[in-house]
């Protein structure tokens, strides 16, 4: 990638540049300087001296060349000199305090850690790593793994290679998901599913039966890849099983809800983008920011770096995925009827019908409370995506405005999650009195409250001190009294009842507005306290 992106002039006694990014021309000094001046080369290298222009392009070319030459020199030093002469500086790293914050459930074998008494061994080992390509490259790149730092052999701590590795796990899973989805769609449009439905099998049997082969194959791929890379198979299974289930949950919903292939193509694409982004991006920040633990891939990266992680981290990243899968299968079973699956309708209509079908009409209160509780992971993920999206907004906005915008979006998501189920009941005229409505609102608020508390407990033990999370309401703000939740949901529902379900969106906005004011007041207070 990026071949010949820089043009470089080199004097006859200049360095050899064997890197595809550089288009190298050998020219004498006068010509070289002239070419540099008129822009036909970005940099001129006369012997050991580099001449550049002041524009960005020339400066970037110099930066790229600097890095290349540094590496080339390191290789030359390794070949020509004794390591005590060529790598005279070894830095032994120790940490101020060893108080571990997380209880490691898995302690990876120390990657043949060098003896502190003889740092030459560490130099040799790191040179070996540099020269060895292959699988070794994926391991032990992190500075803190090597308890001895050799400055010129030190790699940046970005876990890019491990992230790429983790990404490679995802690709076959996505393919399996698409195959599963296609096969499901095929049977749906061919009406083969109808025949199955009339057979004496439950919807769960059909869904599970159709999914199982693809899931098993995905698991087999995980095992095979892990064996090939020399990782820990059990740990890899623990990490990737929730990912597989999450992907299949999404594809199951797409297959059940959408009718035409056109829709399905685009939603599959959307799903791929969403899943890949949600999983891969946080993993890039492994070790830098604890928010990275929202993605299980972070754990995989850690596994391949030979680091350990705690049970809380596992629960935070994998938990929501298991729950989303559970929810998807449950909803899938409930909506598994011909009328729903073959019916046309816009997305919100389909979603509303699905929620309505998912509610057990004999145990309405329990259903509503459970629904609110189970939607928490979904809410959490959507809020995370909003937070990530918000990062792309050019940050010229005053932080308060920015935070307010972020907060209002998140509040809307929460209010919808709490009230959608009851709104569908309203729509189907299942609720007679205002009293029932309020009781349902209380049940929903309770369910949401419990879920939130669980999440709070988890995320506080993993993530700490991140303003974004606090702003999202996952930290201090999460401790909104139960009553407050009840009030906001009631506002939404009473308005919906009064105005009619048509104006549900309006009611949500109204409820969210009150919720937002409440959150913002608390946030402002806290920020005041901080200053």
């Amino acid at each position: 990638m990026g071949r010949d992106i820089y043009a470089v002039g080199v004097s006859p006694d200049g360095p050899y540049i064997g890197d595809g990014r550089f288009d190298v021309l050998t020219v004498d000094h006068a010509t070289g300087m002239q070419m540099l001046h008129d822009g036909s080369v970005d940099l001129y290298m006369d012997g050991e001296t580099a001449y550049t222009r002041s524009d960005m392009r020339s400066q970037y070319a110099a930066g790229a060349l600097k890095k290349y030459l540094e590496n080339a020199e390191t290789t030359r030093l390794i070949e020509q000199y004794d390591i005590n002469l060529s790598f005279p500086l070894r830095i032994e790293v120790s940490y101020l305090s060893n108080a571990a914050s997380a209880t490691p459930i898995v302690t990876a074998a120390p990657a043949a850690s060098p003896l502190a008494s003889n740092t030459s061994a560490a130099v040799k080992e790191q040179i070996g790593e540099l020269q060895n390509g292959g699988n070794k490259k994926f391991k032990a790149e992190f500075v803190s793994d090597n308890e001895v730092i050799i400055p010129s052999l030190m790699n940046p701590p970005i876990p890019l290679s491990q992230v790429v590795l983790a990404f490679l796990y995802i690709v076959p899973m996505l393919f399996m998901g698409i195959f599963f989805n296609s096969s499901f769609m095929e049977e749906k449009t061919n009406r083969k599913l109808n025949i199955l439905m009339s057979a004496p099998v439950t919807p769960f049997d059909i869904i599970a039966g159709k999914m199982l082969p693809y899931v098993v194959f995905s698991l087999a791929v995980v095992i095979a890849m892990t064996l090939m890379l020399g990782g820990n198979v059990l740990m890899a299974l623990a990490i990737f099983t929730p990912v597989i289930l999450f992907i299949f949950a999404i594809y199951l919903m797409v297959a059940l809800v959408y009718r035409t292939f056109k829709d399905q193509t685009f939603f599959s694409m959307a799903a791929i983008t969403f899943v890949t982004g949600y999983l891969v991006l946080p993993a890039l920040f492994t070790g830098i920011n604890s928010v990275s633990y929202i993605s299980p891939l972070t754990l995989a990266v850690q596994m391949y770096r030979g680091e350990s992680f705690g049970l809380a981290e596992y629960a935070l990243s994998a938990g929501p995925m298991y729950l989303v899968f559970g929810l998807a299968v449950f909803v899938g079973v409930r909506i598994f009827n011909e009328e729903y699956m073959m019916g046309f309708g816009p997305l919100y209509r389909k979603a509303a019908d699905a929620i309505y079908l998912a509610i057990n009409k004999n145990h309405v209160y329990v259903s509503i409370a459970l629904l609110s509780l189970l939607l928490i992971p979904v809410v959490f993920m959507v809020q995370m995506v909003i937070a990530i999206l918000s990062l792309m907004v050019p940050v010229n906005l005053p932080p308060m405005v920015f935070l307010a915008a972020l907060l209002s979006l998140c509040v809307i998501v929460e209010e919808v999650a709490k009230s959608a189920g009851i709104a569908t009941l309203l729509e189907n005229k299942r609720i007679a009195s205002a009293k029932t409505l309020l009781a349902l609102a209380a049940a929903s608020a309770l369910g949401f409250f419990i879920g939130e508390k669980l999440l709070l407990y988890l995320s506080l033990s993993v993530v700490s001190n991140i303003m974004l999370i606090e702003a999202l309401g996952s930290a201090d703000l999460l401790i909104i009294p139960l009553v407050a939740h009840f009030v906001f949901t009631s506002i939404v529902l009473l308005l919906t009842r009064k105005l009619g379900v048509k104006y549900y969106a309006l009611a949500v906005v109204a409820g969210s507005f009150v919720h937002f004011l409440y959150n913002f007041a608390i946030l402002a207070q806290e920020m005041g306290a901080m200053q």
């Binding site: 990638m1 990026g2 010949d4 020199e73 030093l77 005590n84 005279p88 070894r90 030190m154 050019p394």
Partner: protein, 346 residues
């Protein structure tokens, strides 16, 4: 000709109705968001200087046993604060009190090898940042020690801006953004053609006074039009994020050619296989193969796109236009094949 426009209009309306374009743009918005996160991330990983700029980190490093102050001055050169301490314990105590971010202990060297000690904060992320920021001074000190040992390191005077983010943006993100709409266009034309074939609506369409090729070209034009609109949106979006692209016209021309190429290619595929499932499958496989094979060409579309956007003086409109030739060949093939492939449907 009016029939041709009617077809384009029909395709665009059907796309709008299905809200697919909204979705496609949303997807890309997501990618854009993600890529800017990656950019910021990469910037801080590879360019310790930018960590300082972005987060206002003013590290204070305690140095023990730095005779002559060589290392301290290198630290100061890097814009950090260095404080000398007489003993390790004193420095450690200061660090415990939160007044130091790291402590470096330099022993007296006897054999030319220096076993330095670095005490880092316990927080993983903090320690990473400190290590990254200290890498520069440490490398300079290493080179100094090498010279003392009689090992000459060449090219130490080359200085420039950290280029990783720059290269990543122009040679990965931008080509991806410019070519992704083309992939959507290809997928779209397959859906559209195979739907007409499967529903046997081609006959109905052709009972109107339009030729088969006019119908197909209308479909293709709609797809390419959408793709290029997305590309333009992209460039605008990037400039909102203060990432500016040089040579926007050749860049868009190249994007246009690529999306037309993919569109006509996938049109051929869908006419050949006729059903959607197989066409989409063949399309993804072929797309990957062709994209891979295109890297062999010099300059490949990806690298040409990167160089145009970077403002490389050696490429311009002419190089971008050269890609019209394979496109024309493909279109010719498309025209010749369309009648034959769809013969028994029409």
């Amino acid at each position: 000709m009016s029939g041709f426009y009617a077809i384009i209009n029909k395709e665009l309306t059907s796309v709008r109705k299905e809200k697919t374009i909204v979705l496609a743009i949303l997807i890309q918005l997501l990618i854009a968001a993600f890529s800017s996160v990656i950019l910021v991330g990469l910037m801080s990983f590879y360019d310790p200087g930018s960590i300082g700029q972005n987060t206002n980190i003013h590290l204070n490093v305690g140095v023990v046993g730095d005779d002559g102050g060589r290392f301290s001055s290198l630290i100061k050169e890097a814009g950090l604060k260095a404080t000398a301490y007489a003993s390790v314990d004193a420095a450690r105590a200061e660090m415990q009190a939160g007044r130091l971010d790291a402590v470096i202990v330099i022993p007296a060297s006897s054999s030319g090898v220096v076993d330095m000690q670095l005490i880092l904060p316990q927080s993983d992320s903090r320690a990473t940042v400190v290590t990254m920021v200290l890498k520069g001074p440490m490398m300079k000190y290493e080179n100094y020690l090498r010279e003392l040992n009689g090992v000459h390191v060449r090219y130490t005077g080359v200085e420039g801006k950290e280029s990783t983010t720059y290269e990543f943006l122009y040679s990965f993100i931008l080509p991806m953004l410019m070519f992704f709409p083309a992939f959507i266009a290809g997928s779209m034309i397959i859906d559209s053609v195979s739907e007409e074939v499967e529903n046997m609506t081609f006959d109905t369409l052709l009972s109107a006074p339009v030729s088969l090729n006019a119908v197909l070209f209308g479909k293709a034009a709609a797809a390419v039009f959408l793709a290029i609109i997305q590309c333009i949106l992209w460039l605008l979006l990037l400039s909102v994020n203060r990432l500016y692209i040089q040579n926007p016209l050749p860049v868009l021309l190249l994007a246009l050619i690529i999306s037309a190429f993919v569109t006509f290619g996938s049109g051929l595929i869908s006419m050949f296989f006729k059903d959607r499932e197989r066409s989409q499958f063949a399309y993804s496989i072929l797309l990957m193969t062709v994209a891979g094979a295109s890297l062999v060409v010099n300059p490949s579309p990806v690298s040409l796109m990167a160089r145009l956007a970077m403002g490389d003086a050696r490429v311009g409109m002419l190089e971008a236009s050269l890609y019209v030739l394979p496109l024309l060949a493909l279109i010719a093939l498309f025209c010749l094949a369309s009648k034959k492939l769809l013969a028994h449907n029409v």
